[in-house]
Each structure stands twice: as C-alpha cells, then as structure tokens.
C-alpha cells in the first residue's frame, strides 16, 4: 500500500561570533533562537512526551544512556513556528525544521524560508551584542577540522515495507546521488584520503552501512524509528547522509528524486539490483571523482559509474510510476533528473549554475586562475566556507544568486510568504494556524500533538496522520471557531 508523500528537512547551522573573547556556540545559538522567539507574544513549549529517539527500526530500543530533555529551559531553546516548522537549539547549533510538505517544490520553499528566519534572528540578536561583534551563520556541514553537523531529510513510509528492502534499495542510491546533491568541499577530513576538492561535504564522515547513531560512526542508513505519527501504519525514514544545499535546484532534486526512489522501494521494484561491493569506500571514491565516471563494483560483479547507476534508477521510475503518481511536479523532477545526468555525462562543469558542488568549483577555479593561488591557500578555504554564509551581502552563494548566476526554482516572494504561512495540505496547516490564532491558549505542541490550556484544564489533540489537518479538512472549522469550540468539536468527533 502506498502512503502519501510527506517530506521535511532539518538543518543544523554552523555559528560563530566575530570578535568574541571566547566562542560559546550554545550561548550564541540560544541567543539567535530567542531573538526570533521574542518577536512573538506567545510562549509555547515543545511536547517532548511524543519523542522516542532510541527506538530502532530493526525492532528494539537502544540501550544507550537515556536522553534527558531538560524541561527547565524548554521555552528558551524551542520555538514552534506559525509556518508549522520548528526552530530550536540542538546541541551547539541553531536548527530549523521545515513543516511537513507534500512535494519537493514546497519543501524547497520552506527550507529557504528557514534561511530567512535565521537571517532575521541574526539581525535581531546582533542588537544585543557589542558594536564590533557580529554573528555569522553558515548553512554547511563541517568546520573542516573533523566536526560535522547535519542536514537531515525525513520521508513518511509505509510500515509494511521490510526495513531490509529499504537498506538494499537505498544504499546504492545514497552513495551515488551525491553527484547531484553534493555541496562541494575543499580538502578531506576524518582520516579520509587527501584531495584538493570533493563533491560532498559529508561523505568523509560515513563509517557504517546501517546504525542508530547520528553523531559518531555515522551510518548511511539511520535506523531511528520515531514516526511522529501512527506507528502501526507509518515509519519516518530519517536520512542523515545528505549535504546542506544552498542551490534551490539541488534541494529540489535531492528530495524529489529520493521520494521517487522510495516509491520504487515501496513497490518492491529495486530489491538487490544495485547492491555495492563496498559502499563505505564507494561513497568516498565517488565524492573524489569530479568526472563522475569512475566505475564502482557491484555485488553481482558489474562495474558501473554513479551516473550509470542513477540512470538505472531513473529508468525504473519511468517504467513503474503510474499515471496518477506522475503529478506535474513529479514529471518535472523526472525531466530535470534526466537533464542533469545527461549534462554530467557530457561535461560536469556544465552544471555550474545548477548544482552546488559545481557552482562552488567553478567559482574557486575562476578565483584560482585570476590570482594563481594554490588550492591549499587559506583564501580558498575561506571561499568554500563563505559560499554557505547566510548573510545576503557576505554569502557568496547569495551574491551569485543576486547576480542572476544560479538557477532558481522559486521567487523571493514565495519564500518570504512561507515564513508565516504553513503548507495548506498537511497537518502543518492545523499546527501553524492554531499557533497563529490561538497561540496564547496553547501550552505545548510537537509534530503530532497540540496541548491546549483551556478553562477546564489541559486538552491534548493528537495528529497521527500527517496528511490530515489540511486547509480542506479543518480550514472552515479553524476560521469559524473559538478555541473552546474547536477543542470541543474535535473531542466530540474523536468519541
């Protein structure tokens, strides 16, 4: 049985305070998140009661130290957004999670809106700093010294699909899709082979094929089994192997083609067709092969390039997606997927206005050519880092975009609009609209719950189906009800 497409991403941002006596990333992240939160009048906590990050998809609960959520600072480090997303301090990074989206185009819109939210926060937070101090926020994945932070994707899947099918079908895809989704990195880390430039920011950090951990010995397939929805029916695939993308085109294709591959896995089309001989070595080899043509070995003895493997996935999508599944956006993704693979095959540098790793490479190439610097020069590393700077005047990606140099998927207006408007077609609509309309009557919320603080006490509304709570289903109810009427009506419907 196929489930509706529901996608969301989580981005951990790098953070630094210029001219600070000492770097304190937790304090800086808290300052930034709070600066945004203080713009709102409501004070809604995160409902940690719904979380179970140690539940493993292979069917057990991990016996690591229990994660303690410190309720005393819940309000300080959490902001639930009226666009349905979440903004909070995760470890030592500000993190933005998009609301649940039904398609890749909306996802790009909400992810890019997150960058604007960070920029607004930064501007507000700087009012509290000394004159010579400046906060810099980077949408990247590494400090180039072996410390990585993530960009995670989440996809709703049917519980009926055996986890082993997901592992077999996805590993070859995750190892190869970086030629489309990589953000590019100068140098190597984490003991991986030296290189001047590589395709992916994250490839060097993957050491295992499957596992629960997200912070050490990172696995290609993360087994966290926390669906934030009805766990009998759904699983949430938590993908940790991707790079943070600046390019709208890269984000669009990353979540677009991954959703399509998951549909193929749900249909049991992929099986063991592309199982690789050594995926952990291959992800690093492919990241270093700027020609995208190097062959890697499959378990069945075939030797195929990343382009060829992705072409096979694409061809299966053409064969097996039904007419109904080929929505205009899916059709557009299939066309762009084909266009990118053909272009990479002919000349990877032809993607210099589309894909992050190529856009960055061409900029560095031009800079190196003009000044004659060596690739190990600090200015080259600075250029790499500053490509991801989220400030519009300082960020090199932002400057390229302003100059009309990069391919866009959306208009600026659409992205600004997504700061304050939830998607209409998922439960994010209910969450975001409740927060905007009834914020002062809400005690706490999470992905699948809202706790109202009504005249007769707390009322918890569960939202176990991510594709419910839409404008179509609850729009009228939300428009025409007081908070008490709303809660009573929903409770009556549930009984």
């Amino acid at each position: 049985m196929s489930v509706p497409t529901i996608i969301g991403t989580e981005t951990e941002f790098g953070i630094s305070v210029k001219n600070a006596r000492e770097q304190d990333p937790i304090a800086a992240s808290t300052l930034v998140v709070n600066a945004y939160k203080s713009r709102n009048l409501t004070s809604v906590s995160w409902d940690y009661g719904q979380e179970s990050p140690l539940m493993d998809a292979r069917g057990y609960i991990a016996e690591t130290d229990t994660i303690q959520n410190d309720e005393s600072n819940n309000n300080v480090i959490n902001d639930i957004l009226i666009n349905g997303g979440r903004y909070y301090v995760d470890h030592a990074h500000p993190e933005y999670c998009t609301p649940e989206c039904t398609n890749a185009r909306d996802l790009v819109k909400y992810e890019k809106a997150g960058e604007l939210i960070l920029e607004l926060s930064r501007l507000s937070a700087e009012e509290l700093l000394l004159d010579n101090q400046e906060i810099i926020i980077y949408k990247n994945n590494t400090d180039y010294k072996g410390h990585s932070y993530g960009s995670h994707e989440n996809y709703l899947m049917s519980r009926e699909v055996p986890f082993s099918d997901i592992v077999d079908g996805l590993i070859p895809f995750f190892v190869t899709r970086q030629i489309i989704t990589g953000s590019g990195k100068v140098g190597a880390e984490n003991g991986a082979d030296e290189t001047e430039y590589q395709i992916s920011q994250r490839a060097d950090f993957f050491e295992k094929e499957v596992g629960l951990s997200t912070m050490v010995e990172r696995p290609l397939i993360n087994t966290r089994d926390e669906p934030h929805a009805d766990s009998k029916e759904y699983r949430r695939l938590h993908v940790i192997v991707g790079d943070s993308n600046m390019s709208e085109f890269s984000i669009y294709l990353k979540v677009g083609i991954t959703s399509i591959v998951l549909q193929l896995i749900e249909k049991r089309i992929i099986g063991k067709k592309f199982c690789l001989q050594n995926p952990i070595a291959a992800i690093k080899t492919i990241s270093r092969d700027l020609s995208c043509n190097e062959k890697i070995e499959l378990q069945d003895g075939r030797k195929l390039s990343a382009i060829e493997i992705l072409q096979e996935y694409l061809s299966l999508a053409h064969q097996h997606l039904t007419q109904e599944e080929r929505t205009p956006i899916v059709e557009d993704i299939l066309n762009k997927w084909d266009f990118v693979l053909q272009s990479l095959k002919t000349d990877p540098l032809s993607m210099g206005q589309y894909l992050d790793w190529v856009i960055k490479k061409k900029l560095i190439d031009a800079y190196v050519e003009r000044h004659g610097f060596d690739w190990t020069d600090a200015r080259i590393r600075m250029l790499d880092l500053q490509y991801h700077d989220t400030r519009p005047e300082k960020g090199l990606y932002a400057r390229l975009q302003k100059n009309g140099h990069v391919k866009r998927i959306l208009t600026h207006e659409e992205i600004v609009n997504a700061i304050s408007h939830p998607p209409m077609d998922t439960r994010a609509y209910f969450r975001g609209t409740c927060l905007r309309k009834f914020g002062s009557d809400i005690h706490s919320a999470s992905w699948n719950s809202i706790i109202f603080n009504g005249p007769t006490g707390f009322d918890k509304i569960m939202m176990e189906r991510p594709h419910f709570g839409t404008h179509e289903i609850v729009g009228e109810l939300l428009n025409n009800s007081t908070v008490v009427e709303l809660v009573n009506k929903i409770k009556a419907d549930c009984n």
Binding site: P25, Y149, M215
Partner: protein, 65 residues
C-alpha cells in the same frame, strides 16, 4: 529601528487563503542566467573575511548530528 529587511518581512501581508500558483514548467528560463563570474571576482577580496588564515583556523564547531 528594524532594518529595511526586517521591515520588508514584517510588512508582508498575512492572508491565510493566499495560494501561490505553482507551475514547475515556467521556471526553465535558462536564458536569463548569466555565467559571468567576473563581477563577483572583482568584488570578492572585499567580501571575503579579512585575514582568511586566522578566520578559518578559528572556525571550530562542535560536532552535531
């Protein structure tokens, strides 16, 4: 005083029924793109953080997920 940018976002009208038309085909305007990097290269030394060596050395993050 909010900056010009903050004002721009704050002033954006809130209309929950406002829906943006999506047309994935309409964006294929490759002609509008420029592959001219010269403009940015002319300015880049002013944009890059001063003292790159020290800046990248001191950019240290805690590992995240």
């Amino acid at each position: 005083m909010p900056s010009e940018k903050q004002q721009e976002y704050r002033d954006h009208p809130m209309n929950e029924n406002e829906e943006i038309q999506t047309n994935p085909e309409h964006d294929d305007s490759v002609d509008e793109l420029t592959d001219d990097l010269e403009t940015l290269l002319d300015e880049i030394d002013e944009i890059l953080e001063e003292d790159s060596e020290e800046f990248v050395e001191n950019f240290i993050q805690r590992g995240g997920q």
